[in-house]
């Protein structure tokens, strides 16, 4: 264990800004990417479903 307290952990021995800046942006980016890909997927699925619906309406 390197850290006495949560405050110490956050301070990172004075390098908090840099360390958390790196880890934070990294986490953010790696979390955003799957979300964006998911959205892309659900967009295309929605338009596919809509097309299907339109076709069903036409054939009826």
């Amino acid at each position: 264990m390197n850290w006495g307290s949560a405050g110490e952990f956050l301070a990172m021995g004075g390098y908090g800004l840099y360390v958390w800046g790196s880890f934070g942006v990294c986490a953010l980016a790696l979390a955003m990417e799957p979300i964006l890909v998911r959205k892309r997927r659900s967009d295309i699925l929605r338009s596919l479903r809509r097309e299907r619906m339109a076709e069903e309406m036409e054939t009826q």
Binding site: N2, S22, V25, C26, A29, R41, L45
Partner: protein, 253 residues
């Protein structure tokens, strides 16, 4: 990965690859989460404070994996591109397209974390060091690849053009790297050297390796996800997509 390659060859058509990828994705996510957990634990709680750099050095645990991945993904991407040009399989183009944004992201993270590391260690966000500069150029190459593909609407054409660019890039990356290196050392003994950190303790090495594995799993998972989305987009009007359960069944909202 080479193992996976052989499998993927058998599944080289999108309609058989699509469900397979769907099954693999959760596993890679699970592995990525596992390695991330272990890696973060090592990086913050096991690895000791560095004698020279204090706690600041902990950036290494994402900086180095991101740097490695940025270079590695480019090679994989070019590999897929070459396969696509040679064998004209639809899947390979989709995989190359799916990998590029992740590679660019890794290059960006390498630059970002490096800059944030450089400020406390070297007192400046950026120096025109060989490794830094060539990483920046690699980032540009990724952006070029993505922009080129985005500008072409016919996917098959986009794949082929992207493939040529990726291959030209792969030939050039070593040339660029060595030229930049030479450029830098000829002018001056680099004012700061990246290698002066003390011989890394075993734990640090382990932490880096585990984090690298985590990044790796993440990259595979996200590339597969993106490839699946691309397949849906490109093959929207084929029979197999139209009869997918998520298109026919799912609660149509």
């Amino acid at each position: 990965m080479s193992n996976g390659l052989i499998n993927w060859f058998r599944y080289a058509s999108p309609q058989s690859f699509y469900p397979l990828a769907g099954k693999m994705i959760p596993w890679f996510w699970a592995l990525a989460a596992l390695f991330t957990g272990v890696g973060l634990w090592i990086s913050f709680f096991v690895a000791p404070t560095d004698a020279v750099q204090g706690e600041g050095y902990r950036i290494i645990f994402i900086h180095v994996p991101a740097s490695w991945m940025s270079m590695f993904i480019y090679c994989v991407m070019a590999g897929w591109a070459a396969i696509g040009l040679a064998l004209n399989t639809r899947l390979s183009g989709m995989m190359a397209t799916a990998l590029a944004p992740t590679g660019a992201l890794m290059a960006f993270l390498s630059l970002w974390t490096g800059a944030l590391w450089g400020k406390p260690m070297w007192g400046t966000w950026w120096v025109w060091d060989a490794r830094l500069t060539s990483e920046l150029i690699l980032f540009f190459l990724y952006i070029g690849f993505i922009a080129l593909q985005a500008a072409i609407d016919d996917p098959r054409r986009a794949d082929k053009a992207g493939a040529i660019l990726a291959l030209v890039g792969v030939v050039n990356i070593p040339i660029i790297y060595f030229s930049v290196k030479w450029w830098n050392t000829l002018h001056q003994g680099a004012s700061v050297s990246l290698n002066k950190s003390p011989s890394m303790a075993q734990t640090m090495l382990w932490g880096m390796l585990v984090m690298a594995l985590a990044f790796w799993m993440y990259a595979i998972a996200i590339a597969l996800m993106r490839a699946r989305a691309i397949m849906l987009e490109r093959e929207a009007h084929t029979e197999w997509v139209r009869s997918l359960p998520e298109v026919t069944g799912g609660s149509a909202r």
